[in-house]
């Protein structure tokens, strides 16, 4: 039912990205001969629609598959199953040359700011690379754009000829952001783009992302752990748990009235920049073993740690259903 609902929203034409049944399983190899001994079900059936011009926040436990989802959407890892459509074009079946052209429209800010920068490239070369690839101007124009982008992300344009290893963690992350913005793509997967930034720069970058969105109608899939930032920037927020989406709603709604117990636990743990509040607050402490994506528990993934769990939770996997208007949740006992 929920599936249908989501499908209809695609038909309205406002959908930019449509992900259906996305699965990414990694083989775990072992033994002398590198046999596959198990599968990590990093992403195990994710359905998402991202509307044009919106920011979809993606939060969830560390290791639940957020980065993998992002990379699979951008076809940086081959999904095990499922379909990804960008602007109605099926990406998973696109020939490499076509896909390469599509890359101008979709970009990624990598979670690992250092590893994703070629140590032999200067900052200038790194940021210029996408511009050159898609012939956005001549050498001088590109140089100017690079300088501009550096300024935009709060780096001194004088740094163009420095190499990544000469920067601090936050500075590296901004290089990655500048690269992703360079092409003015319509869709950006931002994998923890501000996690290493100090709050002031973070504010600057968040503002920038929002400005760009307003100006060019950009669409973001915004992965982050800082729930205040997510709330601030997202129109809707999806909560992931162990390879699946467990709740999806407009951000205000989600923060006000989380329906899934995991979301509730998550929100209760948000640290507040006020020692007084922090000293008084109560958190929902999740008990029980953290389940493994290698052999996820039967039924609802979350049941071993859920305080509301019943027999049905151990047996039946709850589907993602619209429990309230535009508020989807995968739980037998929401609320």
């Amino acid at each position: 039912m929920a599936q249908q609902q989501m499908a209809t929203s695609t038909a309205t034409g406002t959908t930019l990205v449509e992900v259906k049944g996305l699965k990414v399983h990694f083989p775990i190899k072992g033994g002398l001969f590198n046999r596959t001994i198990a599968q990590v079900k990093a992403v195990d059936g994710v359905d998402l629609t991202i509307r044009r011009g919106e920011t979809l926040g993606l939060v969830g436990e560390s290791g639940c598959g957020k980065s993998t989802t992002g990379r699979a959407i951008l076809q940086l890892i081959k999904p095990t199953a499922g379909s990804v459509k960008l602007n109605g074009v099926e990406l998973t079946k696109l020939p490499p040359a076509e896909l390469r052209k599509k890359r101008a429209e979709m970009q990624m800010i990598f979670q690992d700011p250092f590893g994703s920068l070629d140590p032999r490239f200067t900052v200038g070369q790194i940021i210029a690379e996408p511009l050159e690839n898609f012939k956005r101007g001549n050498a001088r124009e590109i140089r100017e754009q690079v300088a501009h982008l550096l300024e935009v992300v709060g780096l001194n344009p004088y740094y163009v000829n420095r190499f990544p290893h000469e920067f601090s963690g936050g500075q590296r992350q901004r290089i990655g952001i500048a690269r992703a913005l360079a092409l003015r793509p319509s869709f950006i997967v931002a994998d923890e783009p501000v996690s290493a930034l100090d709050v002031s720069i973070q504010a600057q970058v968040v503002n920038l992302l929002q400005d760009l969105q307003a100006e060019f109608g950009l669409t973001y899939l915004f992965v982050a752990h800082n729930l205040s930032v997510v709330k601030h920037i997202s129109d809707r927020v999806a909560v992931m748990y162990l390879g699946r989406i467990v709740e999806l709603a407009a951000s205000e709604k989600l923060y006000e009235l989380p329906l899934h117990p995991y979301t509730q636990a998550l929100l209760s743990a948000i640290p507040v920049p006020d020692p007084e509040v922090e000293a008084r607050r109560k958190r929902i402490i999740l008990e029980g073993d953290v389940p493994s994506p290698v052999n996820p528990p039967p039924g609802c993934n979350f049941h071993p740690r859920c305080w509301k769990a019943q027999q049905i939770c151990r047996e039946v996997t709850p589907p993602l259903e619209e429990k309230e208007r535009d508020h989807y949740v995968a739980c037998h006992f929401p609320g």
């Binding site: 963690g169 996690s195 600057q204 729930l227 205000e252 743990a269 920049p273 020692p275």
Partner: protein, 325 residues
């Protein structure tokens, strides 16, 4: 026995690069008591990581070099220790969680091995099996699911947050006296973050571990630290007990920082208020207060003279500003 576990005096760490000398840490002093949790916040690129690396003496050299100051750990100057003495200290008495968990793990060894190795190094006479047990235990402790099996995984098979937790596990494996954690929870979701911070606090209680927590998440600072220092352009600009920082920030930079935080209770569509302007280039000579070009309350004096860290307001609060609020 000295009262302070760590005493950093006038530390200066510079990078001698082709485009000039980068004064990443310039005259930094602070102290830490056993069991204390010290928060370090500040501008990105202000020298937090370099300060931390200086304490454990792992600044990339060349080009980096500690050019001045002293670092007293348990009363002994770390800068005068030889390599063997340092290796004894590292990992057992002082350990560190590096900022970049993605590249800080050796790609060719299993996670479990990398933890067990530390244990084996510092616990004399422990068997391989016991070390491995301890590694699995540590993984469990940092909430890696299915620890027994995942201990045999390689770093590239872990998510960012999982790697970060592995780094924490390594650092905690030997119950150090001083734990330097450089943005240890950036890749962690809040529930796990809370648990990890809880874990660290637990250690402080149990073993008297002092925690130097470098972070951008002021919420984390608020919930975890007793004392906070704020860094800007290689200097400490403010140092205060955690409550005072949040309630009566003295330095304009600190104030700017607090104002840029997005709040959960704000209305949608409001804009964040970052500090305007650019941080200074540390490879150039800075005259006067480094924050002067961006400071809303700047006076002519600020452009000529560098303010010293001086007590402001009540008690232990210090700020490097001629005109603190």
């Amino acid at each position: 026995m000295p009262e302070n576990l760590l005493e950093v005096n006038n530390l200066k760490t510079y990078f001698f690069t082709r485009s000039g000398v980068v004064k990443a840490v310039d005259d930094v002093s602070f102290t830490m008591r056993p069991g204390e949790a010290l928060g370090v916040v500040g501008e990105s690129g202000s020298g937090k990581s370099v300060t931390a690396l200086s304490i454990i003496r792992l600044v990339a050299s060349p080009p980096g070099k500690i050019v001045g100051g002293e670092i007293l750990f348990n009363g002994e100057n770390i800068l005068e220790k030889n390599n063997d003495e340092m290796t004894e200290l590292r990992g057992s008495k002082i350990s560190m969680v590096f900022q970049d968990p993605m590249t800080s793990l050796n790609p060719v060894f299993t996670i479990g091995y990398q933890i067990a190795e530390t244990v084996k190094r510092h616990r004399k006479g422990i068997s391989n099996d016991q070390a491995w047990q301890r590694a699995v235990e540590m993984l469990d402790l940092v909430r890696i699911p299915d620890a027994r099996r995942r201990a045999k995984s390689y770093p590239h098979e872990f998510s960012g947050g999982m790697r970060q937790r592995v780094m924490i596990a390594i650092a905690l494996a030997c119950n150090p006296q001083l734990l330097i954690a450089d943005e240890p929870t950036t890749a962690l979701d809040v529930t796990i973050q809370a648990q990890i911070l809880e874990l660290m606090k637990g250690l402080a209680k149990e073993f008297g571990t002092a925690l130097m927590l470098i972070t951008h998440d002021l919420g984390v600072v608020a919930g975890t630290c007793e004392h906070v220092i704020v860094m800007y352009a290689g200097h400490i600009v403010e140092s205060a007990p955690v409550r005072q920082i949040f309630q009566t920030p003295a330095h304009p930079y600190t104030i700017g920082l607090l104002q840029s935080i997005p709040r959960l209770d704000e209305k949608r569509g409001t804009r964040l208020t970052p500090i305007p302007g650019q941080p200074p280039d540390l490879s150039r000579e800075i005259i006067g207060c480094p924050y002067a070009p961006r400071c809303p309350r700047v006076q002519p004096r600020c452009r000529q003279e560098r303010p010293e860290l001086k007590p402001v307001g009540r008690g232990e609060q210090l700020a490097a500003c001629f005109y603190p609020s």
